[in-house]
Symmetry: C2
Subunit: 431 residues, 2 copies
């Protein structure tokens, strides 16, 4: 797919992608919807106002969705509309566009509507209601299980029967680039001591989790589960997510109700939502087929292909240092698909709303340096060597973590852009 717009070959935002986001700039101070294309954001508020969607009947009565500070109204229109809008924008931006008058030949509108990405500020794309985090990365669950229970009992008995999940904290989901203060709380200075007595401390085992996450488009009512065959139609699109984790706080607090303060201080997502349809060409069979007989029928998909082939990577840079890619993984390493997660979430009758965020869980490969967390890669014992020679068991103040992920090939990448976070020192407290 070629565009009349110059698009760098390595851009995650090729014409094959067209992800949606919310931006502002020094010139547009209110938040507006946009799509990313190459090195530019196309301001959909300006584009729509200037008649840019005049050749797309399906959206005519809904043009107000492009004059909103979040994508919730657009997402709520449903998958058929998202698909048509994306394909239409691909046509408008295509080298042989049938509508050259709309943007290609309209240089004054280009000046107003096409903004260099370097000059825009990205915001959270959706007003998030609830955020749920799954645990569908089989290798991650296994690796963590080995650390805690040994290889014979690494996976809990429920793991291959249902997508384990917990409710997360929605208020602290932030867009890429937001710095994260090192959290403080109760940790065990000496976990072996008896009785166990906690100390108050900045987290000493601050970690990342490499995840994908998806936003809900159309809601379901309380008491009305979504059928597995319809679940994908409730999915708006996908982002990369770093589920920052305080391992020492978690180890002390998590019995018996799961992680809480260890996760609630920040979760970073990429700001461009890649539509579920944009990922369709990369569908593949994951670790086990989605239609496997061992699943209860409410989780059994029609087809085997329940995963996406999306290479992922984790890069760490210390303050003023050189970047080091410490891990290469792939979205194929998920045991459950997004529709399976959604069907399971609603099977009790739980209602999902437009803008709800559902995370995949940490995506680790099987081999060394394919792990999606420091805990798995170092276990606090074997350090990671960074390019400048320094070593890491966990994150230090000033470290910057970048998650990346893109499917496809050069010139046609469908990617998420960088998911960036820098660790700031713990805030000073007085008691």
């Amino acid at each position: 797919m070629a565009s009349w717009l110059q698009i760098p070959k390595n851009s995650p935002f090729s014409l094959a992608n067209i992800p949606f986001g919310i931006i502002s700039s020094s010139k547009i101070t209110s938040r507006v919807p946009a799509i990313a294309i190459g090195d530019y954001a196309l301001n959909l508020n300006v584009f729509a106002s200037s008649g840019g969607f005049s050749q797309l009947p399906a959206i005519q009565s809904h043009l107000d969705v492009f004059n909103q500070p979040t994508l919730n109204a657009f997402a709520a229109l449903g998958r058929s509309v998202h698909r048509q809008v994306r394909e239409y924008i691909q046509k408008v931006l295509g080298a042989d566009t049938p509508y050259p008058q709309l943007l290609k030949d309209n240089t004054s509108l280009q000046k107003e509507a096409l903004l260099p990405l370097s000059e825009v500020t990205n915001h959270l794309p959706m007003q998030i209601g609830d955020y749920t985090d799954f645990y569908a990365g089989l290798n991650h669950a296994y690796n963590i299980g080995v650390l805690f229970r040994g290889p014979d009992n690494a996976l809990q008995p429920n793991y291959k029967h249902l997508p384990v999940a917990y409710h997360g904290r929605a208020s602290s989901v932030v867009p890429s680039g937001t710095p994260i203060h090192r959290p403080q709380g109760q940790i065990l200075a000496n976990p072996a001591a008896d009785p166990k007595v906690p100390t108050f401390s900045p987290c000493k085992r601050l970690d990342i989790e490499l995840e994908l996450a998806f936003f809900v488009s159309q809601p379901n009512d309380l008491g009305k589960p979504v059928h597995i065959n319809n679940a994908e139609d409730h999915i708006f699109g996908v982002v990369l997510m770093n589920d920052w984790s305080a391992r020492d706080i978690q180890a002390w607090e998590y019995v018996p109700l799961g992680p809480f303060n260890a996760k609630n201080f920040g979760t970073t997502i990429t700001p461009w939502v890649v539509l579920i349809d944009a990922l369709e060409p990369f569908r593949t069979t994951g670790i086990e087929p989605g239609n496997r007989d061992s699943l209860l029928p409410y989780l059994r998909e029609k087809r085997a292909e329940n995963a996406y082939d999306i290479p992922l990577e984790v890069e760490v840079t210390n303050a003023g240092g050189k970047p080091t890619v410490i891990s290469h993984s792939n979205a194929k390493n998920l045991l459950y698909s997004f529709p399976q997660m959604l069907a399971h979430h609603t099977i009790t009758g739980c209602n999902l709303n437009t803008g709800d965020l559902l995370g995949s869980g940490t995506i680790s490969g099987k081999d060394k340096q394919t792990e999606g967390s420091f805990l798995e890669q170092t276990n606090g014992k074997t350090p990671i060597k960074l390019a400048d020679g320094s070593e890491r068991f966990f994150l230090e103040d000033g470290d910057t973590v970048i998650l990346r992920g893109a499917a496809g090939t050069e010139g046609n990448y469908v990617g998420f852009g960088d998911c960036v976070g820098t660790i700031l020192p713990a805030v000073k407290l007085a008691f």
Copy 2:
């Protein structure tokens, strides 16, 4: 405290209370703020529009908060304003009101603004962002611990050091009176079998949890913990809460990340928010003092009195049957105070927003028939006898549960009203 309005002596909504809520009726179709007084709701939108607040300077520039479909804007004004508004309304409704012209002598306004509670519909009082549920009921945690681990290890090592909590599901919090469909999901028909293989079934161990919960008024920024000494000023008010729980779904799903589907199908709250100041006269020392030395300083309160003396009860009625009060408890049975919960929640830097809901955890006493759940009272083995002679291990379809709680004495009760939910059969699904 006496009112010129006839208030039944056993009303939870005495002049000493003045709880806030959101109502509609056949005549007022949009949702409006109100307070409850005796058998009436005072429509604050009508009252404010008619100059009802003319003698309260503090609220003059904020009268629009009474023209909103939730209490969030009012709550965000802060504790000083809530206190003044409550005291002002007490004066307006007092037998010797200094402002008789505002309502007492204005019968046409009374007709318009004072609506019989039987004729109004209650709605969720707040737009809830995140919902968190604590586990601060010491006796409940002990009782459950005995069931799972025996009396010697009933409490986890962290229990007396921090208020254990998990993130809950905000979307399915519903106001009293909303029926609850029996949830369905994966359960173990034979928990002792090896390998464990789940079956799909309606929940067979459907339970309640008797809790209090509080709403957040003023928010805190991400990265900025709330000091324990200031925490109470971030609390708007308190409601009763029934955290419906599917014990068999929970037992299978909860390792290693805690309850998820077992809790996400519905959580019922009373619709009238009792201001934190209204509960102040009932402050008492709980199980252990709030200023105990064993707490880390960020959780240590200035004063010992960290609980409220609020008698609570659980009533169950089968379809068409007689009501049976199956349990009497008291809010004193909480090990941690609301300010301690809030300080702990934010110590990592987690941001709380106006409207966030924080639950106490199940409030059980030490004795028989003081338990806040069926699981504790029956353990699935010793049935509860209802007034009509039928027996219950857990809830059956058609059962109605009512939680009640009121502090104070006859004529001056500060109560929550009924927290009601009826169990509907599981919805029929086709796979």
